[in-house]
Amino acid sequence: MVEYASKEPSAFAEMLGGLIGANVTARPEKKRDFDTLVARVGIWVTDIDEGVTLAFDAGKLTVYNGLEPDRTITIRAEAETVMSLSNLKIGLFGMPVYYDKVGRGVAAKLVQGKLKIDGMLQNIATLNRVTRIFSVQ
């Protein structure tokens, strides 16, 4: 289900791959999203200068060390914000909840420019699906 492009995946790559693998295995609703998602998602953690590319391919995920070309969405934020993204609650109609404490914090970072999401407007449905797969809530 989750593969690593490099023989020596970074700790960050292993953590994200492990997190998504565990989420999808334990939660059928996340597995449904995972099985239909086709997208290349970059995540760059600005305060540790490390990133990954998550290449979702309808039920298979390949995790690359660093940012690879042709990404659908690229998320850039500090480590704490990236962890907050994985703590977003999922509400009605599978939409991430932005009105509780964690959600408001994430929204504020977006407004302040401390969370940047390239490709967000064109790919809002994909972003929501990635958020659902990524969220541990």
Binding site: A22, E50, V136, Q137
Partner: protein, 140 residues
């Protein structure tokens, strides 16, 4: 008076600080797993043998925190392993524990979604180690 790092007395003091923390009490509500911290030896830093900190944390409180061997700590539900000097950086807030894990400076074993759900609690746990003076073996 400063307490020697990673000793029984240090473990007891940490337990007291955790139980005094309202932030931890709220952030760790629902937590029900043991956490082992493995402090790897660094003889050149006057820390010649690995030690383990065994933390019995339950629903926002520390039921027990005690010093043990590295093997004792490795039996816990969640195990975080790092050399002595890394733990010292964490306890002095020079290294954020979350960033340390993302960078592989701290090695985590355990269910990832669970630990991610309690990021705030683990950060507060780290802050608790700074609320009392510590005597570090390599600074003696």
């Amino acid at each position: 008076m400063a307490i020697k790092a990673f000793t029984d007395e240090w473990a007891n003091q940490l337990k007291d600080e955790v139980n005094k923390s309202d932030v931890y009490k709220t952030a760790a509500k629902g937590w029900k797993w043991t956490v082992g911290l493995v402090v790897e030896a660094e003889p050149d830093k006057n820390f010649p043998e690995a030690r383990g900190l065994v933390m019995d944390l339950f629903d926002g409180a520390a039921r027990d925190i005690k010093l043990g061997s590295a093997v004792d700590a490795q039996k816990c539900d969640f195990v975080i392993t790092a050399p002595y000097s890394r733990w010292k950086q964490v306890a002095k807030l020079e290294l954020d524990a979350t960033k340390g894990m993302l960078q592989g400076k701290l090695k985590l074993k355990g269910d990832l979604p669970t630990i991610v759900r309690y990021t705030k609690a683990s950060q507060e746990l780290t802050v608790c180690t700074t609320r009392f003076a510590t005597e570090w073996p390599d600074e003696q």
